[in-house]
Symmetry: C2
Subunit: 369 residues, 2 copies
């Protein structure tokens, strides 16, 4: 019988590849990883709203890791919120991990603020502002250890989910993809509906000048592109993706930040196309201010997007309704983990179940019960 | 039908508990962890033979980790050997991991020499000489993150194996167990048949004076005992053991170093007795110069020892035959991983298969093929 995609999931791109991959991992055992990292790019005023102030954006990755692993945040007060009190997408990730029973691990790609959790470490360090033109150290080491970690995870599970929490990461994604020439214009997303596109483009231009590179000049050297203008989440995740996808399917969970990871990985290991899907949210697909679809079309026609049809429009909480107004949309692997949850439970868990669980988690965190 | 223990395994102690645990995890999915750490105690001449010279003992844990994960050593030349060319017990661990297909992870408990592998990190740092009386920093942090890691592993697997590579670790084990009063005399093992018992006892006495403690004075505070006179492998492993054993069985793989871990864990969480077995080798059980049995009798009558009946006496290689003469005997979880291999494969892999695979691995490493 042909494999049917359930209504909780949507597919964009090559449906045959999507169905092939989904049918191979349907009801199977996956593992979720979230790579947390900092780039000081997030502290440039206006770049990131993943945090209540520019300085607080440095705490967001660690806080997300603590929330996922410990259920509470200790590196700062409260939980990561965007200005206006919109809660971190980790709330949806927590729901997906809870309902799937999937094991999950944090990877420290290179943090300035260290999360108080056990984590996998691949040798990365906190990233600098991209305007330095020397934004990531230890790129090859982190890639190679990430690759080995990908192999190790693929040994233990039927599929692997990778994701990120890295404030400022859409700007570094834009820079890396432009350095590689896979995009020519600013199509990346933002955690705000008022995507500060001009600022991001200006910073990328400054970064290119500092690094002595031009758009497309690093088409053949993705690790060098990361070194110049990327962030430390990227080499770790490129490594995990390449190391895992040669033997098991990988759900690359996230928005345009993860498109950059896919672009780098496919340049280093083109043979993994056909084993990866880009897992994200309906919110990301509907974003009028960015285009994951256009970006992915520039990278490969063999990486379908699979998104979770979550809908917060009926939510009684304004902080969650805001997701429907274009806030946040992605992050902490909320889309990838939700897709993985539907897959691992053979569709028994639906997008509706996920939203119900998010409400429960949100009430718990906010002390509403 | 009653569970039968296969001839590849031997049991000492409470056979009912051993059979109960083995039958619960027979043919199930386990995960192997090896916690690597350094204590500068190993550089005191005469303390450790886990390395060709006192200085090289600092490289042994990192080299063991690299051998397990990468199949080759990059932090030093060659592989860890004892004086005389006897290869690290990691060779047996590699055989067990290969034949079982079990996933495996390195935990960095606190290394001075960092292994070039991806590892779990729990916040520990390289340990000082125990004669300082302040031998381990961040004990509570490492214990708590280890505990969380144990919970995370137990979520993903049916049983967990913990182990160590920490040169100098029998001296710190002796010190911690004497501080807790669970042993009154020096019963710990050594990687040499000429166990330097007097030296170890003298160092422990010096350490106690420096720390201002007396035998048994820290009976109720195992984490403080580690802080004063232990090593950084201990708090990470005590944490993993306590965190995992509350929900799945744990095979505590190793010799007398792991007895100290069990002693600490049972003091903090006595309820885990009945869920743990001490997994080791026939060589360790036959050691005339130490007594794992006596030590464990002082700790608990509810933690059976299960050992693998490996026998190198017919080996064509002198370096391996030396194990029969009392060299090495344990380390890098060689006993625990071997027991786990028999268990995970429902007894399909025998101790004879393990020895054959060790020969293959040894030939590859030594370039004999």
């Amino acid at each position: 019988m042909a494999f049917e995609i359930p209504p909780s999931l949507g597919v964009y791109g090559d449906e045959a590849i999507a169905k092939d991959i989904l049918s191979r991992i349907w009801g199977k055992r996956g593992v979720f990883t979230c790579t947390v990292a900092n780039t000081r790019t997030s502290t440039i005023p206006g770049v990131s709203e993943a945090g209540d102030t520019p300085e607080l954006t440095m705490f967001t990755p660690a806080a997300d890791a603590e929330l996922l692993i410990n259920g509470r945040v200790t590196c700062m007060k409260g939980i990561p919120i965007n200005p206006g009190g919109i809660p971190t997408p980790a709330t949806l990730t927590m729901a997906a991990l809870d309902l799937s029973g999937m094991p999950y691990y944090i990877v420290n790609g290179g943090c300035g603020v260290i999360p108080s959790v056990p984590y996998f470490y691949t040798g990365g360090e906190c990233g600098e502002k991209i305007t330095t033109g020397k934004s990531v150290r230890n790129v090859r080491e982190s890639y190679e250890k990430g690759y080995k970690l990908g192999e190790m995870l693929a040994r233990a599970y039927d599929f692997v989910v990778i994701s990120e929490s890295c404030a400022g990461g859409t700007t570094t994604a834009l820079a890396v993809m432009m350095a590689m020439g896979v995009i020519k214009e600013n199509l990346v997303s933002s955690s705000s509906p008022k995507n500060p596109k001009e600022l991001k483009s200006r910073l990328v231009a400054e970064a290119f000048e500092a690094a002595g590179i031009t758009p497309g000049s690093l088409a053949e050297d993705p690790l060098r592109a990361i070194e110049c203008v990327g962030d430390p989440m990227q080499p770790a995740n490129v490594g995990i993706l390449c190391g895992a996808a040669k033997s098991v399917p990988v759900i690359v969970g996230g928005g345009t930040q993860l498109s950059a990871v896919i672009a780098c990985a496919l340049k280093l290991h083109p043979e993994i196309a056909g084993s990866i899907i880009h897992g994200t949210t309906r919110w990301m697909m509907n974003d009028p201010n960015s285009s994951l679809v256009k970006i992915m079309e520039g990278i490969s026609d063999k990486v379908p997007i699979v998104y979770i049809n979550v809908d917060y429009s009926e939510s009684p909480y304004e902080g969650l309704q805001a997701y429907e107004w274009g806030f946040i949309k992605e992050g902490v692997g909320c889309g990838g983990s939700s897709v993985a949850c539907v897959v691992a439970t053979s569709g028994k868990v639906t997008s509706k179940d996920l939203v119900d669980k998010v409400h429960e988690i949100y009430r718990g965190i906010m002390g509403y019960d």
